[in-house]
Assembly symmetry: C2
Homo-oligomer: 313 residues x 2
């Protein structure tokens, strides 16, 4: 184990600390705290945990978060109605619809929902206009996970300007906005994906390598230049004991975790990459807490911007 661990949880805590006084000032001036409406459709074990964490984190920084539950059998129209009600409800500055929606709604459902969110309340940064402002380098509400990565790299002193950053993954919610944000930090940026030929030859050029593939331990030591900074966006729950045994060396505390809980959370980066990388975000405790911290930052920012107070940013 040689890589310096980039402590996302600590940076997230420091971001939350800075949000608390902003939320207080807003509440004093507006007569109400910044408000976040979270829409959760159906029953999805991981979503329940994520939503609980978001609700708790919001109240910790002085925001008011409220959960709107819809049943598994809800229609797309039901979700759109809920979003439209939140759009016009002045008590809510941010609207988050927890992904994934029930698969019965069809593959385009999430985007259809994001498209009706008031861009001024779009704390996920998924609406087209916010994606466009991000691409043009003037976003107010940027997607939380890639913004969290930038905040982490900045606060950990990882130089981005002039570096070569390689992003594996081209999703609208992580890969593409991540590439744009790194570009605006003056990195040279390469975006790789499933059709990329000779991936290791490209990723080994990276000073900063961001893995956002959604495949357990996909990035292996041979993908990484010695000393590179590796950012692991993946959150994959592994329940197969053989798979876990192959991932972690004997004596690893992660094996004991697995024995106790029957599962472990593993990123998109293989644990052995820690022997090659210069710096690495752990999973859990790396990018995950930052995503929530940036969601809250977007909520406070949206509240201030809606009220016409942008000075505190």
């Amino acid at each position: 184990m040689s890589a310096r661990l980039l402590d996302g949880a600590r940076v997230a805590a420091s971001i939350r600390e800075q949000l608390r006084p902003r939320a207080e000032v807003f509440a004093a001036r507006a007569g109400r705290p910044p408000g976040l409406g979270i829409v959760l459709v159906g029953t999805h074990a991981a979503s329940e945990i994520y939503v609980r964490n978001k609700l708790k984190a919001a109240s910790d920084v002085g925001c008011r978060a409220e959960l709107f539950r819809l049943p598994e059998r809800a229609t797309l129209a039901d979700v759109l109605d809920t979003v439209r009600r939140l759009n016009i409800d002045e008590a809510f500055d941010g609207i988050l619809v927890q992904d994934p929606l029930p698969s019965a709604m069809g593959s385009g459902a999430s985007q259809a929902v994001f498209d009706v969110i008031d861009p001024a309340k779009d704390v996920d940064g998924f609406t087209p206009i916010n994606a466009g402002l991000l691409s043009q380098g003037r976003s107010v509400l940027a997607p939380c996970t890639p913004s969290g990565v930038i905040a982490l790299l900045q606060r950990e002193g990882i130089a981005m300007s002039g570096s070569h950053a390689v992003v594996i993954g081209r999703s609208d919610i992580v890969g593409k906005p991540m590439a744009m944000l790194l570009l605006h930090q003056h990195a040279t940026v390469t975006i790789c994906h499933s059709r990329t030929r000779d991936l290791p030859a490209l990723t080994r050029q990276a000073d900063i390598l961001v893995a956002a593939v959604g495949r357990t331990a996909f990035v292996r030591p041979e993908h990484v230049k010695p000393g590179a900074t590796v950012v692991d966006v993946g959150i994959n729950r592994v329940t197969d004991s053989g798979e876990v045994a192959a991932l972690f060396p004997e004596g690893s505390p992660r094996l004991a975790d697995f024995a106790r809980r029957g599962s472990v959370v593993v990123g998109d980066v293989h644990p052995a990459v820690a022997e090659v990388a210069g710096a690495l975000t752990p999973v859990p405790g790396g990018v995950g807490p930052l995503t929530i911290a940036l969601l809250l930052q977007n909520t406070v920012t949206a509240a201030e911007a809606r009220a016409g107070w942008s000075a505190s940013r």
Copy 2:
């Protein structure tokens, strides 16, 4: 000279051929041709030529283009007023404000103007919502130059999927949308710019190299992998006889052009790259005509989409 020349003028002509019947069908159904309003502020020699070419090309395919001239001393408010009038004028499906605006309007003027254009009439694809839809891979009106490059590569049979495309330049109107469009064609994409370290080492990896830097003959043979496809987006007018003599070999017809006219147009790619590249867009006659063809395509598409007729696309 070994590189195959990618004949942008021919591909542009074929795109215009396909537009003519669409414009006719639209005119028959709507009782008026697709309409393009062009706003030109002040006197700018190159802009005059571009605008004249656009007006002529529009009428050639059966669109109606009208020029709205504002004096050099016009204010930003004057330009915004003109755009707002075109936004609500039903005879116009597309609005183009010719760049650059007079420098007295300030550096943010162009974006301020683009921001008020009705996205449904934004035939340049520069509004934030259209930039966002482009990033999300579902654009209707994409910026003309990068779309023109994709059309050229497709029609010339240059394989994009799985290739490594390197874009030099990160502007909102060429570099960034070019990268996104290549990504959606399943290329692995690298975006380089002025802060990029060891540019030749990166560009020599490119199967497809797009130069959008705005610097005369910037890309030299040492930047290019033998056999690569090189796309030259630059349009630079050179008036210095020493510079011209250094660019073109003795006996080149371009030297005779210069002797006759006192200037030549040179791209961002050095003429000697033709000895290394496998395929190359000439300047003039490469990307330039495609930009105009795609502007007209966007105008017809906007007309059809505004009328609710998207079947012909």
